[in-house]
């Protein structure tokens, strides 16, 4: 009996199963799992090759990188000399060369503060915030505008390029956040007049395009103030941008306020805290933390829309590049110019959006502990 169920010869060793890893397996699983997906993959790959290869050739392989005049351009690919030749003005605009070190200091201060605020591991966030909100604007104002402490006065008419873009974005962001907080609180107030004013203000700015706001700021604002008051063009644009974005900021913050259970506020009342203490110490810190991603997204939108100031005649990054395109020595480099502008904006916006996703993830895990 036993002999029938038992073998007396060894079974030959089988080949190991096909690997579940490796390039081929991965391709099979992700690109060629079924006839439809295979067709889609083949089409996508061919479109990518058809579109990307000429692009890479144009932008990198056949491009001209070195030189300082139009003669350096071979005309076969992109001519990045157009950018490098006017790199200084793209960064500083018409800022006098002798004073550009002041812009550099402001850039460095800003980068340092941003890193301090954005990297969670560095301690002392409260100090960073205080310096960012009070110290930095004063320092930047004194350094950029000059006219004090023996620094040469540089009129805002000479500001331009990346420096102006960052200035407009920073002031827009720093200015619209507090106005937005006040408006969001106002919209949730139980005083009818306060609520009505906030609602009308928010809905008005959210209902009109930023361009018309900038037009209004540049054409109508000077009419609103006494004739003696000189309104700087940059300041006018900044007022428009701040009012406009504060409405969007208010709606984001309102979302956060609504997410805080009313028990938090009631607990504060039970402790005998007044309105501002309850809001400032209990509700707002939680609400703002919840909507950090939303606030960063508004920052991104604001940053992108700073390019609109070119329409009212300010020379931001985009406008400087555009002005360079009309230079008779450099006609016909529109593609290089706009691709470079797009790249700069993209790097800023993409890093901000990545940061917002990172913060979102951090906050999500924060809930469980």
């Amino acid at each position: 009996m036993a002999g029938e169920s038992m073998r007396d010869v060894m079974i030959e060793a089988r080949r190991p199963p096909n690997a579940h890893r490796g390039v081929v397996k991965w391709l099979q699983r992700n690109l060629f799992n079924g006839p439809l997906n295979s067709v889609v993959s083949v089409i996508t790959i061919s479109v990518l090759l058809w579109a990307l290869w000429p692009l890479v050739q144009w932008a990198l392989i056949q491009a001209d990188w070195l030189g300082d005049s139009r003669q350096a351009c071979s005309g076969e690919g992109a001519c990045w000399v157009f950018i490098s030749a006017r790199f200084e003005s793209i960064i500083y605009g018409f800022y006098p060369e002798a004073a550009r070190w002041r812009v550099d200091i402001v850039f460095a201060l800003m980068a340092g503060l941003l890193a301090w605020l954005a990297i969670p591991r560095i301690p002392g966030k409260r100090w960073a915030a205080i310096i960012a909100v009070i110290g930095f604007p004063v320092a930047a104002y004194v350094l950029l505008l000059g006219g004090h402490f023996g620094l040469m006065h540089v009129s805002t008419r000479n500001w331009g390029g990346l420096m102006l873009t960052l200035t407009v974005a920073t002031i827009g962001i720093v200015g619209s956040l507090p106005i937005g907080i006040v408006l969001a609180l106002g919209r949730r107030s139980n005083m009818p007049l306060v609520r009505a004013v906030s609602v009308v203000f928010i809905e008005f700015w959210r209902g009109v395009p930023l361009i018309t706001v900038l037009f209004m700021a540049s054409v109508m604002l000077p009419l609103f103030v006494p004739t003696e008051v000189e309104f700087d063009k940059l300041l006018r644009a900044l007022v428009g941008i701040m009012l406009f974005w504060s409405a969007y900021m208010a709606e984001v913050i309102r979302g956060g306020l609504q997410a805080i259970p009313s028990g938090q506020d009631e607990a504060g009342k039970a402790l005998g805290l007044g309105y501002w203490h309850r809001m400032g110490l209990i509700v707002l810190p939680q609400a703002l933390k919840l909507v950090i991603p939303g606030i960063v997204n508004t920052f991104i939108a604001l940053f992108k829309d700073t390019s609109l100031v070119l329409i009212i005649g300010l020379f931001d990054l985009l406008a400087i590049i555009r002005a360079g395109l009309t230079d008779s020595d450099w006609l016909g480099f529109a593609t290089e110019g706009y691709v470079f502008a797009a790249l700069v904006f993209w790097v800023f916006c993409f890093s901000m959006s990545r940061y917002s996703q990172y913060i979102e993830k951090r906050l999500q895990t924060g809930h469980t502990d």
């Binding site: 996508t44 139980n190 005083m191 004013v197 009109v208 609103f224 004739t227 985009l318 706009y338 797009a342």
Partner: protein, 392 residues
Amino acid sequence: MSRSPSGDRVALWRNPTFRAYVLQGVLLAALAALIGFIVVNTMANLEARGISTGFGFLDERAGFSIPQTLIEYSGDSTYGRTFFVGLLNTLLVSALGIVMATIIGFAVGIARLSSNWLLARLATAYVEIFRNIPLLVQILFWYFAVLQALPSPRQSLSLLEIVFINVRGLVIPDPQPLSGFAATPWALLVGIVAAIALGICAKRRQVRTGKALPIYWLGAGLIIGMPLLVFLLTGAPLEWSIPELTGFNFSGGVRVLPELVALWLALSIYTASFIAEIVRSGIQSVPGGQVEAANALSLPGGITLRKVVIPQAMRVIVPQLTSQYLNLIKNSSLATAIGYPDLVAVFSGTTLNQTGQAIEIVAMTMAVYLVISLVVSALMNVYNARTLLKER
């Protein structure tokens, strides 16, 4: 006079009701003062500059030409007319942009959820690239870098020798209705009304008897088939004017401004990247249990999609989609950067520069966008109320 819980009288200035009144009074006074300040200054400034206020300028002769007019317009028309010409151009590019952005957006949003790794990554790359580049840069790029680099009319790129594109714009065939064509649009209208009526009847019948009519086929027949039949029966009264190169330019067909093409492309591609994200999150927001439950009821795949997944995804998608449409309409005002004659470029631009009536013109322009926003938000509220999760 209110009392504290312990029964003591509370000082008037600690009474919340009283404080609320005082605060609102102060706010009202401040607002009134601000408005008064603005009005007084504006009056003084306008007087100093010799600008008269009022809307009388709308009846004056405009005297400038506009490259694209959907309604009759000439240099002899009034400034009031420029307002409507601009408004219609804004609505045209917005409508075109909304259609195109929706198509691209849904395609890319669904592609992001594809099981095909490459397609999903490509869709993600699309979203991340176009969402993070300012719209203005994109508009200028399409206009100055792409369209201006196209060949001259004589070397136009053509599609089947019917559609041509060159540096002066896009030339497409122009349909010329002959007599008797009017019956077709009427047939379309009747078809739509009949299809809606049929839909309501079919629903009632299904509730009563449980039998479903092939409503999609019948509706398609009514909306597409009937007008087509009428069109053919009346003898196909439509002629196409095909563009033809004569000398240095095209004759026949309609020329679409390059500005319109650039603006349309940029608006569609930019907005589509946001719509794609909305579509993706909408579809992902439907819990997997819903599909599993439908499978457990052995509903066919098509019905699961139509009756279970899409309605729930739409509840998330539609409100955000509408706000993207509103953004697109507002963003179309960037037309002024490349000279497409939209409301802002024509009315807040040329008309304002010629008349100097800044306040009236900026107010009218803003009012247009505000009215569009408020109407759409009101419709949105109705939709939200109807699709609100019915809690039992």
